[in-house]
Symmetry: C2
Subunit: 382 residues, 2 copies
């Protein structure tokens, strides 16, 4: 199988990720931070290592500001709901995933107002629209770092500056960028940076989380056992325990640590350049096929390695089905859990076929995909 | 190492669990229920299989009433907070874990009242205390199935009956029992049954969840992408999607499925009887050592395979440290995230040393532990 669904989950993972997870399960998967015996200490050590590697990746000063959650959606719910109150106003964009839009829509029932700033046809954001949306009761801006539909990269540094000038909180969703794009939380004015473990960070599913800026206090969403201050019925305030309750996903975090070590070794610039090369090559080849409509920004520096497209007179589901069924090529059709992004780019009804590239994809695989698309256009195959 | 910390996390796991997790990571760990290609379908299939195995284990009619979460704490937070509103009254017991007590304590700030029914010195509950605690505004009873400190088994069937007679909701926490004790949600009047994957269910850490009774509606705690109804900004109401947002922990759920298959093959009665035999043998041997104080109920049918103890004039931390350091025996000292349970049994200051047994423990290991304890009592070793 040729796997072009890396924006959903990267696959395969580095060999070291498989090995570390298996080693964790077989050799040290006791309860970290709970019992104090050797296995428990070893489990705790790998959790701390993953936290430190994430802090290093995002340039956070302290690893205790890195929090582990179930996934990015969990982290976004904690971050968004933890920052706003009745009467507050939140600004977001039309390119967001349902993990941002659905919590915000839900919060409208609790008296929180939302402005969804419309983006352009390629998913690009006009910063002046953010500034114009600011009101007296605006508390928060939430944006993705890159769209999961078009790959469009958002100007997070500039949005952070707008947030700073207007004393607003800012949450960034890096699900599509962390691990390949440099992000410095000391340089960008961000209160909460949400990440997921199973995409660019090369770890397994089941681990996401966030960085929270020193001094930015969220209401926690889960209380429970933390292994700390066990004598107290009041959930502890210390970080990261405030936001982490119950037994963590130790094998998942161990796998993520291995993914992070791999990224550090290979270098995020190298990873990004490889993915850019594949994306550029695919876009070049696509431009030679008639009847293929490509979405998203033209300049490559504005696009994460995601290319959504459609073929004239075919639904995205048909095309993805043929690619999988006839050519063993995995892509994603439909709306990609981001309905307003599809409205923005004009694919709100049938969605689009998404090709999303990862570190292990090759030009040769792109050639095969292009050949398959040509065959589908000509209806040779189906 | 001799591992007697199974109440924190069972270890080791069946070989099939390690193999299935590794297979999942290497062969089919795409995003389940999202993309529709072959790998995604295979990931979706294993998630459904785990759901069906859990439904079968708990005698739930439909697998869609099984919901996956990060851990039992996550599930308890969703269940408790999803059922109560300002002005409601909740009844629980003094034997609960902080995963129940801390959310309830937190809810007091939101105008929810709690009665914590005191249990007896062995952790046993007098049912009349539950009945007496019921008020006009009582909405919910929450209890553990077995205490993580003393192993004391709660009369869940009888509590369920009290809940039914008084039209109250009932949540059971089966973290210490699922996989070894028969639980039939059709027979017991339970609205939400919370489970964890990494203890008796033999799966990895990072997966917990709950069964929710048909017709019992909880407010969801997380909105986001579900792979269903992607066009809607309103989080879907259908089960299990209502309570499951974002990418699930597929490798963890795959491992849990393997654990559940193992349990089905071996039989929960066989597993329970083995653990009971080990517990009985340990208690018999302990009764021959002077200066050892054992907590929890006498009759074995009232005790899950957990034995907490102290040695006169030694703190639990000291004893656990010696056991680990000198004898390579893993136990847990301290308060075990259940401070009121320790107050109940009289160990609120220094906690207790917990021995908790699993399917892979042997009489020979117990002999070694008893020898080690004798040596610690006599101060030969330390």
């Amino acid at each position: 199988m040729i796997y072009f669904d890396n924006a959903a989950t990267t696959y395969p993972k580095p060999e070291a990720v498989y090995r570390e997870m298996d080693k964790c399960m077989r050799e040290y998967c006791a309860n970290p931070g709970r019992s104090g015996h050797k296995l428990s200490m070893e489990a705790g050590r790998v959790v701390l290592e993953a936290r430190e590697l994430l802090a290093e990746l995002f340039h956070a000063k302290k690893s205790e500001n890195i929090v582990f959650c179930l996934n990015a959606t969990d982290a976004l719910n904690i971050a968004i709901k933890g920052l706003v109150e009745k009467g507050d106003h939140v600004i977001t964009t039309s390119m967001e995933h349902n993990s941002v839009l659905r919590p915000l829509k839900h919060l409208e029932n609790a008296g929180i107002e939302t402005t969804i700033v419309p983006c352009g046809k390629t998913g690009e954001l006009d910063l002046s629209h953010i500034e114009k949306a600011i009101r007296g009761n605006t508390r928060l801006i939430v944006t993705t770092h890159a769209s999961n539909v078009t790959g469009t990269i958002m100007p997070i540094k500039e949005i952070g500056e707008i947030a700073r000038r207007n004393s607003l909180k800012y949450i960034i969703d890096t699900a599509q960028t962390a691990g390949a794009y440099p992000i410095d939380v000391e340089e960008i004015n961000v209160d909460v940076l949400v990440f997921t473990g199973h995409k660019g960070l090369m770890g397994p599913q089941g681990v996401g989380g966030f960085y929270v800026k020193e001094g930015t206090a969220l209401r926690q969403m889960r209380e429970g056992g933390t292994g700390s201050m066990s004598e107290s019925l009041i959930h502890p305030e210390l970080l990261p325990d405030k936001y982490e309750s119950g037994t963590p996903n130790t094998p998942g975090i161990a796998g993520l640590a291995a993914g992070l070590r791999f990224i550090k070794e290979v270098g995020i610039d190298h990873i990004r350049m490889h993915e850019e090369r594949i994306t550029r090559y695919f876009l070049e080849q696509l431009s030679k096929i008639e009847d293929v409509i490509v979405y998203g920004p033209g300049p490559l520096e504005k696009r994460a390695p995601v290319v959504s497209l459609n073929i004239e007179n075919k639904t995205s589901s048909e095309v993805s089905f043929y690619l999988d069924n006839q050519f063993d090529i995995a892509t994603r059709p439909g709306l990609h859990c981001a309905p307003l992004a599809h409205n923005t780019i004009g694919t709100g009804v049938h969605g689009a076929v998404r090709f999303s590239f990862g570190y292990y994809n090759t030009e040769d695989e792109v050639d095969k995909a292009v050949k398959a698309l040509k065959s589908i256009v000509k209806e040779e195959c189906c």
